[in-house]
Amino acid sequence: MSLYEVQKFLYQFNTDAALRAAFSADPEQVLADRMLTEVERSALRQRDFRALYAMGIHGLLLTPLANYSGVPIPKYLEAIRSGSEETSHDEGAHHG
């Protein structure tokens, strides 16, 4: 339900070095006043790319998170492909 808030957090994280520093110092605090479900919070904290991708987040919002978190792209791809349901995005699933 709060997909937009997840997308917005990622957009800001990717473009704002101060937010990235704050998030790595105290993730709970940074996410505290955002309208996110516990599932979404935890997916962001844990860099659960499979869960984030399955929510319908655009690949180019996720790969910077991988880059900045030291996750190589092959690892990232392995994670998003590990879902049993291979939800592709090119039918517009992520165009929420």
């Binding site: 937009y4 997308q7 917005k8 957009y11 990717n14 473009t15 991708y53 655009h58 690949g59 180019l60 919002l61 996720l62 790969t63 910077p64 880059n67 792209i73 990232y76 791809l77 998003i80 492909r81 291979e86 939800t87 592709s88 995005h89 090119d90 517009g92 165009h95």
Partner: protein, 269 residues
């Protein structure tokens, strides 16, 4: 009187500068050679301005205000946005007078681009410039098209916007080089990452070569989507073709490179 003195379609795969060693050396060499030819051509022409039509990669625009078209009207632009790109940070001069003429001409023609006094250029703009105008001393008008989030501008409208850009240039004194930046097929960060739709790419390059941009302007959103979430960037080539008219093109180089997750194509009109 100004004119579009040359136009190019250029892929902007960030691997070229961020991780060039990942790809076969002969592919990288061929691409460098092609971009070197474009550079030589531009240096010989000595344009007053480069108008570059590119996508945004979630750097300037978000779902809070997603424009179909946006023209950068600032005096100068910082870039690249990406720390990891392997291109040094710099500031490129804009051409606000030409940029505003592009917006006004479009408005009169019933095309309403957003306008911006503060674009940060990402690899979609900076990677082509790095190779073809490496001194970054030619002023730039960045034109951004939504290639990220549907609904996106239809192909026929991109083509019409290109025609309007050409009319604006004709009314101005500048001699202008045009670049359409993007593609060809790719699915960056998606499950299909690394796939390349060669058939789709070859058909497009055939149409570009034969001066049949108008046929591309009739592509539906579904036909464009055959090239993946990154192939949406075909729109930037279509706008460039609208501005360049139906001149035939030289396909300087075409290399499908799985390590860069796309088919790299470079065309000169």
């Amino acid at each position: 009187m100004g004119d579009v003195i040359a136009a190019f379609g250029l892929s902007h795969a960030p691997g070229l500068t961020a991780f060039p060693k990942a790809a076969p050396p002969e592919d990288v060499a061929a691409v460098h050679e092609a971009l070197g030819k474009v550079r030589a051509c531009i240096e010989a022409l000595r344009p007053d301005t480069i108008v570059i039509i590119s996508p945004d990669h979630w750097v300037n625009f978000f779902l809070s205000n997603m424009p179909a078209f946006c023209v950068g009207i600032a005096d100068s632009f910082a870039g690249p946005a990406e720390e990891w790109l392997g291109i040094p940070k710099t500031r490129v001069a804009g051409n606000p007078d030409l940029a505003r003429a592009i917006v006004e001409t479009a408005m009169d023609a019933g095309i309403e681009p957003a306008f911006s006094q503060e674009l940060v250029l990402d690899h979609g703009t900076m990677l082509p410039l790095h190779f073809v105008s490496p001194r970054m001393d030619v002023p730039v008008v960045p034109v951004i098209q939504n290639c990220l989030q549907p609904p996106m501008p239809r192909a026929f409208r991109c083509y019409a916007f290109g025609q309007s850009i050409a009319r604006a240039i004709q009314r101005r004194p500048e001699r202008v080089v045009l670049i359409g930046s993007g593609g060809l097929s790719h699915w960056p960060g998606e499950i299909q990452h690394g796939q390349i739709n060669r058939e789709w790419e070859e058909r497009i390059l055939e149409l570009v070569r034969d001066g049949k941009g108008e046929e591309l302007s009739r592509y539906t959103d579904d036909e464009i989507a055959q090239g993946g979430t990154g192939g949406f960037e075909l729109r930037n080539w279509i706008t460039m073709l609208g501005a360049a008219g139906s001149r035939p093109a030289e396909i300087i180089c075409y290399r499908p490179v799985p390590a860069f997750a796309t088919g790299l194509a470079f065309a000169a009109l």
